[in-house]
Assembly symmetry: C2
Homo-oligomer: 271 residues x 2
Amino acid sequence: MSLEKFRLTSQNCCDCQIRYRAVCAHCENDELAQLENIKFYRSFEPGQTVVWAGDRMDFVASVVSGVATLNQTMEDGRRQMVGLLLPSDFVGRPGRLTATHDVTAVTDLVLCCFRKAPFERLIRDVPHLGSRLLEMTLDELDASRQWMLVLGRKAAREKIASLLAIVAQRMAALAGDRTPDAGMAGAGMAGGPASGPAEPGLLSFDLPLTREAMADYLGLTLETVSRQMTALKTDGLIRLEGARRIVIPDLPRLVRAAGDDADGGMVDQTR
Amino acid sequence: MSLEKFRLTSQNCCDCQIRYRAVCAHCENDELAQLENIKFYRSFEPGQTVVWAGDRMDFVASVVSGVATLNQTMEDGRRQMVGLLLPSDFVGRPGRLTATHDVTAVTDLVLCCFRKAPFERLIRDVPHLGSRLLEMTLDELDASRQWMLVLGRKAAREKIASLLAIVAQRMAALAGDRTPDAGMAGAGMAGGPASGPAEPGLLSFDLPLTREAMADYLGLTLETVSRQMTALKTDGLIRLEGARRIVIPDLPRLVRAAGDDADGGMVDQTR
DNA sequence: CGGCCGATTGAAGACCCTCAAGTCGCGTGG
DNA sequence: CCACGCGACTTGAGGGTCTTCAATCGGCCG
């Protein structure tokens, strides 16, 4: 099983599915070669823990395929998901010895790992690597601040809509990178591409999260998540095919239900 | 007024209060000289807006003295604070044309600004600068994820305690850098230093936030903040001297009330 | 003094959580 | 084939926490 996954993943950076999205995105071929020297792949099955918070972590990594979560836990058991890691996302922190959060695979997961010490050297010596990592970290920071608004100020229904809209958009962007059936478990699109303002924006995807994981992301209970999911379904904002497959008939409408502007709340360069 | 502030701030980087904490912390003297060429100071009064979300922003900056907030606003007026900027914190994002959040001064504020285009060049050319910015951004990301736990999973009382504990610790760390009365409005300590496990940890500081700002930070209403503040006061966890000055007789106890472990959860994970 | 702003306090109710059944899908084994 | 068990999900009823709306208090400044 683990070996099978191993073989599915190209060992050659040039053919890699996340070649132009991951931390290595801006690297030239010679720089890629240096990364190849210190990289190795690791596979995980759903539910497996990649690292526990506080554990020593001797590598950093890119998610090649699959989905993982970053979780924070309190002593009494309360949990908050603080990151949802999709393909091309970066795991771990250069310049730190131990992990700050639990990292858990929620689907079959393949990581492209780099030994930490040499990676830290490359960050210094390869400008394209350091600048890309900075850029990705700044993006992560923006995303996590966006999420603070969701957690702090949105009602349960808006929270669910926000999660679905964001995952849908990220899945669609990833699916655009490659053949629809490659890599991520079940990720793909039906209907037209996500962009195009005249289009209804029909798209569908497998949401690889249990109700409990969604609740942990949104600061809700799983019961509330379930109730709001059926509410969104009866209101026609989403359709459910089985428990996991989500169909979004009208993305702008869902985005409005999330409390954001129809354009997705992203950059607004006017004013 | 603005001129007075201007003069209070040293123009010489070597004498700067935030010399060893800000983005320039790791720079050598010659590198500092390059920064000095592109820097300029700007002062703001309480309530003034530094930039609006969506506005074009031609500089990045370090907070020299005072406190500012990073706010996100929804169309219907709901607001969430996504960052609390204290001296040495970095403002703005290299590689982006417009601001993503409102930045507002909550006290008298002095920014050490760098023109963006040349600063972006320095990030590439001066390794000490780029690596420090990456480090600070990773720290910010950790802090914002810590805050997601507060927003998503903590009760009102724990939220307040978390805010007070974090601000107290940051203020104490800053005050340790320099003479107690320099720079930040009213920031200082009474009693022993914050560290030292045998000590009760008595400390006090001016909390430069209105109840409304605290509510915006915590995802609460200002009424709830007020109620929980008086509850903490009657329970002896804090004392109030006037509306703004906070005395914390027993920091570990406050940290426990925040739901965190007594060590503060902020484990020093440096290599 | 009067006006204003921030903070406090009170009462009623909405929203979400807690606890508890009950359902659905699916693989196992009698 | 169907009973059984298991995990994920759904649905229901009741209660608690926080919000909402409103009145009051207190300090500051003209």
